[in-house]
């Protein structure tokens, strides 16, 4: 009886252990982005806060009508963030030499935290570098919003029947796939946004810093932060003064989670044997009727045995 129980126990544990296994590969080095991955270099020294990018995005992605016109500068009085109604926003930061404007949108990271946290695999990093999402499988757990270190994804809370995550997709469906640049890039009058292959943009960014070193802080934000992002920023003032988070570090977010994910297979394989072993060790000394094993001790077993 005891052996049978043991074998049944192992079978159930084996079945249980084959479920819910995290198939995360251990550290496969770092991902530098796809070779054909595109990016956008944002030169904050050129931005004048005209908000044309917001207007273009609004039309391209068929977002709802804004509350105020896009050439209204009064919105700069408070700091905004991307939401279900605006995939990109521009914020103004008053600095000594005049206002500095910053465009905020999804940064299309090389190793996106949103993608790694999604349990229905709704996010995809395309080979063009865009991080897009499939709203058809989104369950609405909003873990991606927790994970994004830049607080980018918005959620359509206003919808009762089909709320989904909303964020910039680099105009993938309507433009990127057809070899056209995103709407915001195309419309920017000051060419704040330079579109190109990410690898080339990093070189161009460093070249700009080299040619006019007094104009820029010697750092491209997004070159290495959280494993590298598709949107790269150049600024004339220190980045934390214009709302960037300087504490993020260069490791992608998934690196934090790997420690736990690594213990999962260990628990799944060791626990069954460990606890069945405990059971065998702790019940062997109880009584001589080993055939009944532990069953003989509880009242309901005695009753069952009688029947």
């Amino acid at each position: 009886m005891k052996r049978r129980d043991f074998l049944k126990g192992c079978m159930i544990c084996g079945a249980a252990s084959s479920l819910g296994i995290s198939k995360k590969a251990w550290g496969s080095g770092s991902f530098e982005g796809y070779p054909e991955g595109m990016g956008v270099l944002v030169d904050l020294t050129r931005c004048i806060g005209c908000r044309s990018c917001e207007a273009a995005c609004n039309k391209e992605q068929q977002l709802p009508e804004p509350k105020v016109p896009f050439d209204d500068q009064s919105v700069f009085e408070e700091k905004r963030r991307p939401s279900e109604e605006a995939y990109t926003v521009v914020n103004r930061y008053e600095q000594k030499g005049g206002p500095v404007y910053r465009k905020i949108q999804c940064n299309h990271c090389n190793e996106p935290a949103c993608l790694t946290s999604c349990f229905v695999n709704a996010y995809t990093k395309t080979k063009e570098g865009a991080v897009i999402y499939n709203s058809k499988v989104c369950v609405g757990c909003r873990n991606c919003m927790i994970a994004c270190p830049f607080n980018v994804p918005g959620y359509s809370y206003s919808s009762a029947t089909n709320p989904v995550v909303k964020k910039c997709i680099l105009c993938y469906d309507t433009r990127l796939k057809y070899g056209k640049p995103p709407a915001c890039v195309e419309i920017c009058p000051q060419e704040v946004l330079t579109f190109g292959y990410r690898k080339d943009l990093i070189k161009i960014g460093h070249e700009r810093i080299r040619e006019t070193p007094d104009k820029y802080v010697d750092h491209i934000y997004g070159e290495k932060e959280v494993g590298g992002t598709g949107w790269l920023y150049l600024s004339s003032v220190p980045f934390d003064k214009v709302g960037f988070d300087n504490t993020l570090g260069n490791e992608p977010i998934i690196s934090n989670v790997k420690e736990f994910l690594g213990t999962v297979p260990m628990v799944l394989t060791i626990w069954p044997a460990l606890f069945t072993g405990f059971h065998l060790l702790s019940t062997r000394k109880k009584g001589h009727g080993d055939d009944h094993g532990h069953d003989a001790h509880s009242k309901s077993e005695q009753e069952d045995a009688k029947k």
């Binding site: 129980d5 049944k8 126990g9 192992c10 079978m11 159930i12 544990c13 249980a16 479920l19 819910g20 296994i21 995360k24 279900e84 935290a113 790694t116 946290s117 999604c118 349990f119 229905v120 695999n121 499988v137 369950v139 609405g140 757990c141 909003r142 873990n143 927790i146 994970a147 270190p149 809370y157 206003s158 919808s159 009762a160 029947t161 089909n162 709320p163 989904v164 977010i253 998934i254 934090n256 989670v257 420690e259 736990f260 994910l261 999962v264 628990v267 799944l268 626990w271 069954p272 606890f275 069945t276 059971h279 702790s282 109880k286 532990h294 509880s298 009242k299 309901s300 077993e301 069952d304």
Partner: protein, 464 residues
């Protein structure tokens, strides 16, 4: 209910009534052996039910409204604070308190400590209901709850920690249902089912341990996705999952102590002999386990702080809040447990258990809501509708808990056929049995002596 029992109304506690002659039918079992009028009367007399009625009257329409009008109607639609009370309190706090299922199952079945059996079923039920309602809170919180099965069948994202949580909670719920089904089958009168489940109990229990370890830890690992967003005192890059797992151990055990205390106080009529006799002893034994858990937790917390060199945060406002949580939730209960266990003071143990439960809940709410986004300028206070829904669902949880405890053989032992006959022959035979349909007004028991109407078939009563 106490009054009914004292007056000899036969409450369901075995498959058969009247000394093994007749089987209770399902309706009678549901009504605990009372007539519908008697049942409603005792329900109306209970002041706790009035409070529940008020909560349901306000809360249930709001829950329905959440599904009709969307999350925007019940939350502040915050993109910076996507997780609110439903998850922060409902899911993250209830899951560690429900770890009693696997702990008591392991104690009895794996380690063979059958002396814990009187409280084992309560622990298992506590676990099942806690997880069940955590999932119900989740369904209210999810944007599209009808898509809940998606990570199981439609689209897999196996790299995500939430994937593990989803699969494990689903599997573990099934394991717990199976474990509690033993009591259910007894009650329903389906011995074959009961035997079948008992045969795989060891396997179920070990599966339960594996699943629980991982998903208790995984809930903690969820916060490793947002390392900068949770305050450093509550966050540990390496040990977050361990913090959550280890704190769930005392959480579950103390929840059982808490529930058993409340049950003994409010449902004394339902508590069986074995339960009553052993409860104090078992409470102290559970407290021993809980103190081990608390001590380990404290140690790991200290190691976590030293590992990342966070001591300077203690000097801040957040640091004071942290010390409040650690003192009242961990250190004070630990000290009280040590003193009370040594001196066998069950009352103090119980107080300490309630403190521990509070501490675990506070820890989860702190990590998920209060210290979340500590760097942002604005804190979010949940929408009032969110708070009402959370309270309502908790009230439903209590109601379901009570419903099951009233009926299933959890707090008492299901009498076997032999015992039923023994009990009615040897035990005190009730003198007054009210069998007619007339309503039972309050306070008139003693005046109804002239209304005894022995019904046909109750032959054993004719002895007096």
């Amino acid at each position: 209910m106490k009054a009914y029992k004292a007056n000899g109304v036969e409450i369901v506690d075995s498959l058969y009534k009247d000394g093994g002659k007749k089987k209770w039918n399902l309706m009678e079992k549901l009504l605990l052996g009372l007539t519908p009028r008697q049942y409603i009367a005792q329900a109306l007399r209970n002041p706790f039910n009035w409070i529940l009625a008020v909560i349901f009257a306000i809360g249930i329409p709001i829950i329905l409204g959440r599904f009709f009008f969307g999350l925007g109607w019940v939350t502040h639609s915050s993109n910076d604070y996507p997780w609110g009370m439903f998850l922060g309190f409902g899911l993250f706090a209830m899951v560690p308190l429900s770890s009693s299922g696997f702990q008591l199952g392991t104690t009895c079945e794996v380690f063979g400590r059958h002396d814990f059996e009187p409280i084992e079923r309560l622990g298992l039920l506590n676990g099942l209901l806690g997880y069940l309602f955590a999932v119900i809170y989740l369904m209210v919180d999810l944007g599209q709850p009808w898509r809940l099965p998606y990570p199981m069948v439609v689209s897999f994202g196996p790299a995500a920690v939430l994937f593990l949580v989803a699969w494990h909670v689903a599997t573990y719920l099934s394991v717990q249902v199976a474990e509690v089904s033993v009591a259910f089958f007894e009650w329903i009168g389906f011995p074959m089912g009961k035997r079948g489940v008992r045969k795989i109990t060891l396997g179920l229990t070990v599966a339960g341990i594996i699943l629980s370890t991982l998903h208790q830890g995984a809930l903690g690992a969820l916060f490793t996705y947002a390392p900068g967003k949770v305050h450093p005192l509550w966050y540990s890059a390496s040990f977050q999952w361990l913090h959550f797992f280890v704190s769930s151990l005392p959480g579950g055990l103390c929840m059982v102590i808490a529930v058993s205390t409340i049950a003994r106080k409010t449902m004394a009529w339902r508590c069986g002999q074995e339960f009553n006799d052993n409860l104090d002893k078992l409470t102290i034994a559970l407290a021993k386990g809980a103190s081990m858990g608390l001590a380990t937790y404290l140690t790991i917390k200290l190691i976590g702080m030293a590992h990342d060199n966070k001591w300077e945060y203690l000097a801040t406002g957040w640091g004071q809040w942290y010390m409040f949580e650690i003192f009242f939730g961990v250190i004070l209960p630990l000290g009280l447990f040590a003193y009370a266990i040594r001196n066998k003071m069950v009352g103090l143990v119980r107080l300490s258990a309630f403190l521990t439960v509070f501490g675990v809940v506070l820890n989860r709410v702190n990590t998920a809501m209060i210290t979340f986004n500590w760097k942002l300028a604005e804190r979010e206070i949940p929408h009032w509708r969110e708070a009402i829904i959370s309270v309502t669902i908790f009230a439903i949880y209590i109601t379901v808990y009570r419903f099951i405890l009233y009926r299933l053989p959890i707090l008492y032992s299901w009498k076997t056929a032999d015992e039923t006959v023994e009990a009615t022959e040897g035990a005190r035979v009730p003198k007054k049995v009210i069998l007619d349909e007339e309503p039972v007004p309050v306070g008139t028991y003693r005046t109804r002596e002239e209304r005894i109407i022995p019904a046909a078939g109750f032959s054993s009563l004719e002895k007096n």
